[in-house]
Amino acid sequence: MRRLLTAFAVAICTLSSVAVYQPAWSDIEGWREIAWPFPRDGWPAGRAFRCAVELCGDEIELYVRPKIGFCNCDSGVADDDEVDRVTDLDLMSQRFLPLQPGKVIRIADMPGRLRSYDLNMADGSRHAAVGIAVSRRCDLLVAVAQGKGTAPEVQRVALEFLGSGNMVHWMASAMEGR
């Protein structure tokens, strides 16, 4: 009996101390998860996804992660400058140019803003990108999508993906530290 109890105790402790891995996937066909492609920075790595050419027209990649404790608790994502600052555009290129004023958006029941950019990549190529920042209390969730297509197309594909059921579920869980 003592051995059984010990095993039970170990099992309980193990279950409570190890974070349960929750795979993030989309219920939209054509997307697959890839390894986070950026070096470690001040925030824990997020999730990265790639959409196949045949589905998205061009290859589009999307990177999404929570930034806990990085938001103005009262005003949230207040303006376009905030989107420039907090989204992970700089991981892809330090040189990006907004194409137009951003717009208010709501993702996974979190309010924020979205803005489109022209990215000047290190190899000289130009990519279209969309930066998204939404917040809950003092926490942010940021997403960036980029590809060789047009900005409206990247935006459409990114929003469709982020709005899928599994992604909404994962984003909500990630913001709660789960």
Partner: protein, 481 residues
């Protein structure tokens, strides 16, 4: 005991020991403070307002503490001021600490409405009118922030009856400014509406506080209006060594991506003022990048420190040191450790980190106590009693830590004080499985010292002001009797 009794006992012991270990170190009301080589002299509850920066000013034959506050809480957005009987948004507390054992609360000046960081009046600096080049010799001027939207200057010659002199408004965020009393030059951490960052620096001539003169806007290239691309980390606060030292040490970042920027003060004040990328780079001497894990809340310079170990070296006997203090942001150790760093900036274009200090977490199970654990700020007084000998670090739920920094290559802790919590101490929560889990713990946010050797600590979680003094071996480090 039946055959199920013994297993049930084992299970009970297991669950009790599992759960009690998490709460063993939590503070309880009525328990004594935890201390080593520091003792409590006096206290004031500051009307249970969340406190930020204290500045202690020797004013005539009195000693006055000016204490900035954050905004109110969700539960109490505007605490009642017992002196007026009215609910007042948190602002600035003015306390007579001439007798540190019996501090007298003189006045509360309300601040901007708003909760937590969104309201209050966090920052305070004080200059005598007779020290300022064009000040009223009979005045004592208090510079403070007004929430995020303005800077204000009050005449506090009669600290119980302050009078508003000037307001510099229209800003989107303000924070920890620096004011040179001998010149009146002020480095105001502001958020100019057209800049791409929440916080940058506006340099003002406040030598005549009733007529502020703006000198220039300053920040990092990429933050200025009209720039594009990546936006550098925002400023947190500068400390100037004045015209003699001719340096301003800027800290950027709070708990992430921080760096120390060393700036030529004369070039900053007299250089081209148009905020172009080239003009912003012109006064910069160098930067010391920190890990992406840490930010720079306070950058405290200590020039020409004699280093005993180097006393017989033909060169480099003294070193210019900057103490960099990170700010912990998240509760219950949910981020990389924020701590204290010492940089040798003697060779200014090659600054180098030489040592660090943190409180051992295991010494108090601080990750389990609740609230923030990690550093926030240091004392900023350069009075001889402690300067270049001791530093005091506000460490949130680990209270204040007293460091012997005479050898900044090997700083060592010589004392600490963790105040008791009270009924006013506010809870701090983390989200666990989608629900708030809250604990109550002291949250020592800021610390300042006076020329007499008293140490003033204030609490972010509404516990108030505690006035301390050194005891035992720590007094010897400072050369106190």
């Amino acid at each position: 005991m039946n055959r199920y009794g013994k297993p049930a006992t084992y299970l009970s012991i297991f669950f009790i020991s599992c759960s009690s270990s998490a709460y063993a170190q939590q503070q309880v009301i009525g328990a004594p403070p935890e201390a080593s080589n520091m003792k409590l002299v006096g206290a004031n509850d500051l009307q249970a307002r969340s406190a930020y920066q204290p500045t202690i000013h020797h004013q005539g034959d009195r000693w006055i503490a000016y204490i900035g506050h954050h905004g109110g809480t969700d539960d109490i957005p505007a605490p009642v001021n017992p002196q007026t009987g009215k609910a007042e948004p948190n602002g600035t507390s003015i306390v007579d600490v001439t007798d540190p054992a019996q501090p007298k609360y003189l006045r509360h000046i309300p601040g901007q409405e708003g909760k937590y960081e969104a309201g209050g009046a966090q920052m305070v600096r004080v200059c005598d009118g007779k020290a300022l080049p064009k000040g009223d010799r009979n005045a004592v001027y208090m510079l403070r922030t007004f929430g995020g939207e303005a800077h204000e200057i009050w005449n506090v010659a009669d600290p119980a009856n302050p009078v508003l002199i000037t307001r510099i408004g229209g800003l989107k965020d303000t924070h920890k400014s620096w004011w040179e009393c001998e010149t009146g030059i002020a480095f105001l951490v502001s958020g100019a509406p057209d800049w791409r960052t929440r916080r940058m620096t506006q340099v003002y001539d406040l030598s005549d506080p009733s007529h502020p003169v703006k000198i220039r806007d300053f920040g990092l290239a990429g933050q200025e209006p009209g720039s594009t691309g990546a936006v550098p980390t925002e400023v947190h606060g500068p400390i100037s060594t004045g015209p003699q030292g001719n340096r301003v040490y800027f800290g950027y970042g709070t708990n992430k991506g921080g760096f120390l920027q060393i700036v030529d003060r004369e070039k900053l004040i007299n250089g081209a003022k148009e905020p172009s990328a080239d003009n912003l780079r012109f006064p910069e001497i160098s930067r010391l990048a920190m890990s992406a894990f840490n930010g720079a809340h306070t950058t405290f310079p200590m020039k020409q420190m004699p280093i005993a170990e180097f006393a017989n070296d033909k060169d480099g006997k003294t070193r210019d040191i900057v103490m960099i203090v990170d700010e912990s942001i998240l509760n219950e150790c949910s981020e990389p450790r924020q701590m204290v760093w010492f940089a040798d900036v003697t060779v200014e274009n090659r600054p180098m980190m030489i040592s660090s200090f943190t409180v051992p977490e295991a010494s108090g199970s601080f990750c389990e106590r609740g609230g923030r654990f990690g550093s926030h700020s240091s004392n900023e007084s350069m009075a001889p009693v402690f300067y270049k000998k001791m530093a005091f670090i506000a460490f949130f739920n680990a209270g204040v830590r007293a460091l012997d920094i005479r050898d900044p290559y090997h700083p060592r802790e010589v004392g600490y004080f963790i105040p008791s919590i009270t009924a006013a101490t506010d809870k701090r929560c983390v989200t666990v499985d989608g629900k708030d889990r809250c604990k109550v713990a002291i949250q020592t946010n800021n610390v300042e010292t006076d020329e007499r050797g008293y140490i003033y600590i204030v609490d972010r979680a509404n516990t108030g002001l505690h006035i301390l003094e050194l005891t035992g071996g720590a007094r010897a480090v400072a050369g106190l009797p």
